[in-house]
Amino acid sequence: MADMSNPTPLLQVSDLRVTLPTARGWAQALRGVSLRMERGQTVGLIGESGCGKSLTALALMGLLPERAQVSGSILLHGQELVGMPEPQLCQLRGARMAMIFQEPMTALNPLHPIWKQIAEPLRLHQHMGVAEAKARALELLDRVQLPRARERLDAYPHQLSGGQRQRVMISIALACSPDLLIADEPTTALDVTVQKEVLALIKQLVNEDGMGLLLISHDLGLMQDQVDRVMVMYGGSVVESAATPELFAHRAHPYTRGLFAARPRLGLARGTRLTTISGSVPELMDLPAGCAFADRCTLAADECRHTPPQVESVGLQGLSGEPHAVSCPRWRLS
């Protein structure tokens, strides 16, 4: 819920644009992404490969490749992150904003024991001594419900299972009690049953600490259970954004509708053909000048290819007062 009494939101991103060098020249990878998040809010970014969701996360953390060009504004508690010098960004990373990655095996250092990796942000940002950091690491491992945490402190990543490694990653992220947690496909590499546990854990911790959570995934079902608000991305821009129940009840953007229709669901009868979105995601360089989805859209008109779409509001405010926005002038036609 938009908190009017606190004018400085946790995170305010305005018209974020990122250009990357590719083999074929400079390509606009993010085309004006805007979002606003308060403390305690959970936002989901959903989209397929190449839509820019991971790039958005990296841009927020300041982890884009050197040659990337960033414009727009990212305000964390009112502090501008775009253009911030690296040493200052380093102070924020791990301390005020933290990230959980998709592949815990590659995100953890195989040569360091677990406690050392958890202690790293503590020693860096809070200047803790080794003994104190190790004790705090144990507390954190208990908090993420890692079984037999005391024994596992000295273990190495390869000695743990995928789900356990992800718990370790979460405890590293939470070590300094950040205000913003970004989770980039945190459970994609895990089994379905473990996925459920890890997601429940993240939800619980986020609630307890009142953090803001930005959850990135390609899985619609996940979004339904985990976040207050969903933003659908395609071709580097946000095409639709709404409160979760509202989005699942009334989808407006043709791409969102296509995405929902294309999922195989347990309730379908055997042999049902899925509704597909024609064509495939074009390369960044080949996106049309106007709406990124224009070439595949059943509702597209000529103007869609040339003019970037206006953001419109979808009728009702929904249950929580969050606006339901869609980047499509023709959405009513479907």
Binding site: Q224, R263, L266
Partner: protein, 279 residues
């Protein structure tokens, strides 16, 4: 292309077991072993499809490889069209292989990056069922296979890296189809693909099934995909069968607690029928 007439029971697996000996962790004493599969039995009729579901470590990929005779079992048998594939002689097995082919999970690893699509797609018929009229006939068959999966003849002269993940999976399917097999073993064929691409490939697989009466042995961790594509389902946990039977029945009235846990763990399943199951 399948050598002999198809019997009603296309594939039969009897008490299949596979034990792996692990690399030694100590100098002395016996090396430890891992029982990847034990006592797995199943039966697949021509034209029907069976889904194998399980999580990582369940042994489902091992099962797929054993069925494809890419690995030797430690116990049990795999019978394709009544013939034991692991006891067959080299040339007999080669003949049999034209009847069952495989589609792999990784669209980037299952195609040789150094070969053109033409040689990739015709690989099964190069060894198994060489047409007597040489290169042009081979090319024609390849073009035919590509058009069936929605690709163009011009694509024959390209390399895999020129295609997207979904297109590569189509090439892999074309390769699997070229000998007109009766059975296709698909190991997580769409897991590495985006949702919209997944839908296209699944639709293609269903179309091919209708058109040619194919049987699929579909290995997947995704219950929704298995529900869509398969008549029957077999649930594996740690190498053992915990439940098997008609898919529709199992997904609605699962008895084994592990199966129920798998079903309930699917994110966002608030569909009506799950509510039905609880009442």
């Amino acid at each position: 292309m399948t050598p002999s007439p198809i019997k009603p029971t296309l594939l039969e697996v009897r008490q299949l077991g596979r034990r792996f000996v692990m690399p030694r962790s100590a100098m002395w004493g016996p090396a430890s072993s891992l029982q990847a599969l034990s006592d797995v039995s199943l039966s697949l009729k021509a034209g029907k499809s069976l889904g194998i579901v399980g999580e990582s470590g369940s042994g489902k990929s091992t099962l797929a490889r054993l069925v494809m005779a890419l690995d030797q079992p430690t116990e049990g048998q795999v019978l394709f069209n009544g013939v034991d594939v692991h006891k067959a002689g080299t040339s007999q097995l080669r003949h049999l292989r034209s009847g069952f082919q495989m589609v792999f999970q990784d669209p980037y690893g299952s195609l040789d990056p150094r070969q053109k699509v033409l040689s990739i797609v015709t690989e099964p018929i190069q060894t198994l069922a060489k047409p007597s009229d040489g290169r042009s006939a081979l090319r024609e068959r390849a073009a035919e296979a590509l058009s069936e999966v929605g690709l163009r003849t011009a694509d024959l002269d390209k390399y895999p890296h020129e295609f997207s993940g979904g297109q590569r999976q189509r090439i892999a399917i074309a390769r699997a189809l070229i000998t007109r097999p009766a059975l296709i073993v698909a190991d997580e064929p769409v897991s590495a693909l985006d949702v919209s691409v997944q839908a296209q490939v699944l639709n293609l697989m269903m179309d091919l099934q209708d058109r040619y009466g194919l049987s699929y042995l579909l290995v997947s961790h995704d219950l929704a995909v298995v529900n869509l594509m398969c008549d029957d389902v077999l649930v594996l946990q740690s190498g053992q069968v915990v439940e098997q039977g008609p898919a529709a029945h199992i997904f609605q009235h699962a008895e084994h607690p592990y199966t129920r846990m798998l079903i309930s763990a699917v994110p966002g399943t608030r569909d009506a029928f799950l509510e039905q199951e609880k009442t």
